[in-house]
Every structure is written in structure tokens, then in C-alpha cells.
Amino acid sequence: MKHTIRQVFRSGKFVVGFSIFMGILLIVTFYPLIIRDAPLKIIGQGTFFAPGIYVNVYDSMGSPHYTILLDDAAAKRIADKLDDDDRQAIKEWLVAAGISEDAIEIENTESLLDLWVNNFDPTTRIPGMTNADRNYYIRLNTALDGLLSTEGAIVASVNPETGALEEKGVIRQTDYVNVNQVPNVRVLPLGTDNFGRDVLTELVQATAVSLRIGIVAGLIATFIGLVLGLVSGYIGGLVDDVIMFITNLFIVIPSFVLLILISFSIGQEQRGAFTIAVVIGFTSWVWTARAVRSQVISLRNRDHVNLSKLSGHSIAHIIAFDILPYIASYVVMALILQISSGILAEAGLSILGLGPRTTDVPTLGLMMNWAMIYQAHILGKWWAYFPVIIVIALIAFSMNLMNTGLDQVFNPALRD
């Protein structure tokens, strides 16, 4: 046993796969201990906030202000509001409004803005201008308002007695706050999803749930497959015929179709993550059963089994000690494959909307499902679905690496 384990860990592929898998497991275990937020808590009002560091604006005003004089601050401010396309658009509008093209200096921000402020009128109807363009110019006009002003912004609050605004302070353009001094800063490394939840926290729990689903499904499928395969293969005869008949029935009906039918008929109310895992397990044992059976059939005529019989051992003893150890490595590999295919099956089901009950627990598939419903993939909100794909791929990849690694160890024909 020790020897086998040592051999297994000598396989590079296995070690890489195992490290990835253990890495995922570690993150899944320790992340919730460090970040103690409820993964399904809606924290964002609005959908798909981009990844980043969110600094509370109110608190930043209350934090100590520091004056930092940076030459390019104003330039950056202007560039952010007025890029080259905007300048070109302003020129087009001005030309259409009858300003001579020569008078427009597109690079000279001051003169350009001057012309714009003096001439722009949102009610002007320019032939051929679409509503979308008109809305754009209005937005641009709003954004440009006071762009070149060097005055600070005034912070005021309402006097409860007079109802008038009273100046509380001025935020100058050179004012900075230290993020560390702002009491409310929220880091959203992967932004938020359509519900306004922190994607990273959700992803970690979803991974944990999906792994649990995969492991439960894999254990069930492997256990059923192993028992049926052993019984069918070793006892043979009528028992074999009956079991193989059932197995063949399951093969003819593609398991995913079966899975869909069962999940659909269970109904949303009963579909917890565990139920889904059980359903996946009960529909995916077929190949394990067949493979185990054929292995057992070839084993049961082996001389060591005959010798064991001649030594007076019982059937149970022979199955347990002379057959099972020989297929154990195979069963372990099958288990690994079943776990990863269980995770994929859950994802597939959830994407079809047949996964676990929607918002009890997050799963990788459900995250994909919601991202798709809210069209994250079309709107380019990559953080809502891409990390999920990566995690699914990593799990499947690590499982497969472990599997091929084991295969190399247990199957001498593949050793190099």
C-alpha cells in the first residue's frame, strides 16, 4: 500500500492534478474562515459591478484630505471625460451647426470647450441625427459641464430648521484621501453578479457545493457500479443476465436524458443540491458497472482465484481479497472520473434550469445559469461567468490529470 502510494506520487501528472485539486480544496476550506460574508447576501444595488476596489464616497469626504500636486491630474480628468472620439464628435456637431471648420481646433481643449458651451443647444435639430446621437450629445454636454473649472466642489447639507443648504466644505481638485483611512472599502476582486452578490465569495461556496455534489454523485455511481459489476461478473449466469439487461436499458437511454427527465419530474421544490447529487449518481453508474463486470470476468478465471478456491476460501473472501484489490485502482480512477463528470452534469443541468433549487445554495452551474439569463456573455460582463468556467475546467482538468497519472502507475503498458 505504502509502496503504491509512493509510486502514485512519483507520477508527475498525478502530482500536478493533485496539487491543483488540493489547492482548490484549500481555498474552499479556508476562504470562508477568513472572509465571513454570507455568499448569497445581496450587497450591490444594481447588476454586474465590475471587479475593483470600491471606496465609500461619503466616508472619503469625511476622511482626512491630503493635497497632492500632480501635473497630470487635470489632464487625466479631461482625458477621462473627453477622449479623441468625443472631440471628433464635438467637431461634427459644431460643423453641422454651422461653425466653420477652420475655427475648430480639435486639440485645443479650451477653445473647443468654449465653442461647445457657446453653441450647443440640445433642442437644435440636425438633419440625419438619430435619437441615439442626440442622447449622446446631451450626456456629453452634462459630463463636460465645468470640466475646465479649477474651483472645488462644494459639499453642503440641509439645515433642518431653515431648510436651506449650508456649505460644509469644499473638495478641491488636488484633494486626495488615503484608502487605508477610509472606513468603508470593499474589495470585489470579481465584481458582483446579477443579484448584486460578491462573485468571488459566491464562487468559493459554489465550488464547495459543486465538489460535494460531485463527490456524492461519484460515490453513489461508483458504489452501485462496483456492486453490480462484481455480482454480475463473479456470479454470472442468470444474475448476470438480469443485471446486464438493466444495464443495457440504461445504456440505450442516454444518461443525460434520463437525468433531465428525473430532475424535471422531481420538481423544483424537492431539488436540493443533495437530491441532484443522488439523481446524478443513480444515472451514471452504468459504465462503471460494465467495466467492473468485464474486469471481474477476466479475473475470475485467473489462476490466483483458482488457487484461492483450492485453499478453501469462500466466495465473499475471494471477491473481497482476490478480485477487489485487482480492480481497486480501476475503481479509484472510475471514481475520479465520476466525480468530475458529476460536477459537469450538475453544471449542465443547472444551465438547463434543472439544477438544485435556485437560491438555496450557489453551485457552479447555477452561477452560469444566472449569468446567461442576465446576458452577461453578450454584455461582456466576463467576471460573472468566466471565473466559473475556469473553476469547472480546473476541477475537470485536475481530476483528469490525476486519473491519467493513476492510469500510468497502475497500467504498466502506459509507463514510459
Binding site: H304, S311, H313, D322
Partner: protein
């Protein structure tokens, strides 16, 4: 020649069929035989002749489709697991491929301890068991101290096959079925195995039955030779009779096709 001796294993019309209907094949086709105590018997046949199937029936690993097998004059009864266990105290086997004959997950000690248990020595003190195992190993020229805690696959083929004989030494059966015991063994070790087997025979007085395709070996070791073709015994008799003066065309051809060294090998008869 066999007068006065009693048969330890006999068969009447022993038949084994596999499959049903069109797929039916007859592996062993109604053979009759009497294997006498103390003799060395060889069953010679080419691959597919049914000799291994017959061996398995003799061992009770598979049941005959038809016919009866008599053990020590009585019809053999191995209906229950207990009866089988009893039967296997009297008849044991050595298989062709030593590399697949052992459970690779069991240590050599456990292989030998199984035999001691089989002989009712399960409750012996540990020292006694070790003594028995050491004795068995030294009989086949192995050192138990070196083997203990090792796995069979760590031994060479010849050593594994000798360990198999050590097993027989411990079990002391009346009959030993040796199914191609040397075909996977190097030429040099082959002699050792045969010698050890013969020595064991003298020691415990068992009846060896060789199942082999090697006519040379059969001729060399056995008293009585059975030639098997397509599930039937086509010729039997003493080794000299059958091999030096074959009567049946099949036997003649078989012997003719084996390369010779003392005489000219007639290649024209193919």
C-alpha cells in the same frame, strides 16, 4: 500392469460443454479414465484439446456437464462448500503461469499460512507455523527467512514455481494436478522443478498428473500417458508404448512433428 492397484481418480463419460445452441462447444467429450495411485500420469494434448478443462473438472473448479468422476472408488461429492474444502485437502494443483498464480496483494507468508490452516493447523503457535513454513521452503531450496514479508512477484518465475511446490509440501495432497508446470520456466530451472516434484512425490506418496503439451516432458517423466485430441482420449498406455510406438495417426503425427535430436527429423511429412 495395473492389477492390484486401485484407482484414486476415475471418470466415466466425463463431458463438458460450453454455451448453448449454435454456440455450443464440447470441450471434453465423454472421456473415461482410471488414474492409479502411485503412478505418474501425463495428459498430453495441443492447445484447445480440452486438457485444461478436464483438469479443472478433476479439481472440482467447474462441474462436468455429464458423466461421473469417482474419487477413491466412490462417486465424488462436492456439492457444498464444506465438501469441496474437504476434497481439496486431497487434490491440489500447480498452474502454468506462476506470475498469475499468486494474489499480488498477499505476502508469501499468507500463501503458506493458508495451507497450514487448510491442514487444520490454524491454531498452532506461531513458532510452530514458522517451523513448518521454513521446512517447506527449505524442501524446495528456498530460504523462508528471505521470503517472509516479501510478495510473490518479487521472486523469479522458477522461485515462484518452487514456492508453489512448497505449498503442496505443506498440503500433502494425495493427487497433484500439474498444469504445464514448466512451460513458462526457463530451460535450466525446468529440471529443478521436475526434480523437486519427483522428490516430493517420493516424500509424501502422492499421485502426480501432468497436463502438458510437451511430449518430450511427458515421455521423460511419466509412467502412463494419455493423448488427448478434441476432448477425447485417442490413445493411452505406458510412456514407451504410446510415444515410441504410437498406434493412432494423431499420436503418430504429433510425435512426428516434434523436433528430434537423436534421430533425423523428417521434414517432408508436413
Amino acid at each position: 500392469m495395473n492389477a492390484g492397484k486401485k484407482p484414486c481418480l476415475s471418470g466415466r463419460g466425463v463431458t463438458k460443454e460450453f454455451g448453448f445452441g449454435r454456440n455450443k462447444t464440447v470441450a471434453v467429450d465423454g472421456v473415461d479414465f482410471d488414474f492409479y495411485e502411485g503412478e505418474i500420469i501425463s495428459i498430453v494434448g495441443e492447445s484447445g484439446s480440452g486438457k485444461t478443462t478436464l483438469a479443472k473438472m478433476l479439481l472440482g473448479l467447474i462441474n462436468a456437464t455429464e458423466g461421473d468422476i469417482f474419487f477413491q472408488g466412490k462417486k465424488r461429492n462436492i456439492g457444498s462448500h464444506r465438501k469441496k474444502k474437504e476434497y481439496w485437502k486431497s487434490i491440489q494443483a500447480i498452474f502454468q503461469d506462476p506470475f498469475s498464480s499468486y494474489n499480488t496483494f498477499n505476502k508469501i507468508d499468507s500463501v503458506l499460512l493458508d495451507c497450514i490452516r487448510m491442514r487444520g493447523g490454524g491454531r498452532l503457535p506461531r513458532e510452530k507455523k514458522i517451523e513448518l513454513m521454513t521446512e517447506a521452503c527449505s524442501f524446495v531450496n528456498l530460504k523462508f527467512e528471505e521470503l517472509t514479508n516479501k510478495y510473490p512477484f518479487e521472486l523469479s518465475g522458477g522461485q515462484q514455481q518452487r514456492l508453489m511446490i512448497a505449498r503442496i509440501f505443506l498440503l500433502k495432497p494425495q493427487i497433484l494436478l500439474a498444469d504445464e508446470p514448466t512451460s513458462m520456466i526457463d530451460a535450466c530451472s525446468r529440471t529443478t522443478i521436475l526434480d523437486t516434484l519427483m522428490q516430493l512425490r517420493d516424500e509424501i506418496g502422492m499421485t502426480p498428473i501432468f497436463i502438458t503439451h510437451d511430449i518430450g516432458l511427458a515421455y521423460y517423466v511419466s509412467d502412463t500417458v494419455y493423448i488427448m485430441e478434441r476432448g477425447k482420449f485417442v490413445e493411452s498406455g505406458t510412456a514407451d508404448q504410446v510415444i515410441l510406438n504410437p498406434k493412432k495417426p494423431y499420436t503418430q503425427r504429433l510425435i512426428n512433428d516434434v523436433p528430434k535430436i537423436y534421430e533425423e527429423w523428417d521434414l517432408s511429412t508436413v
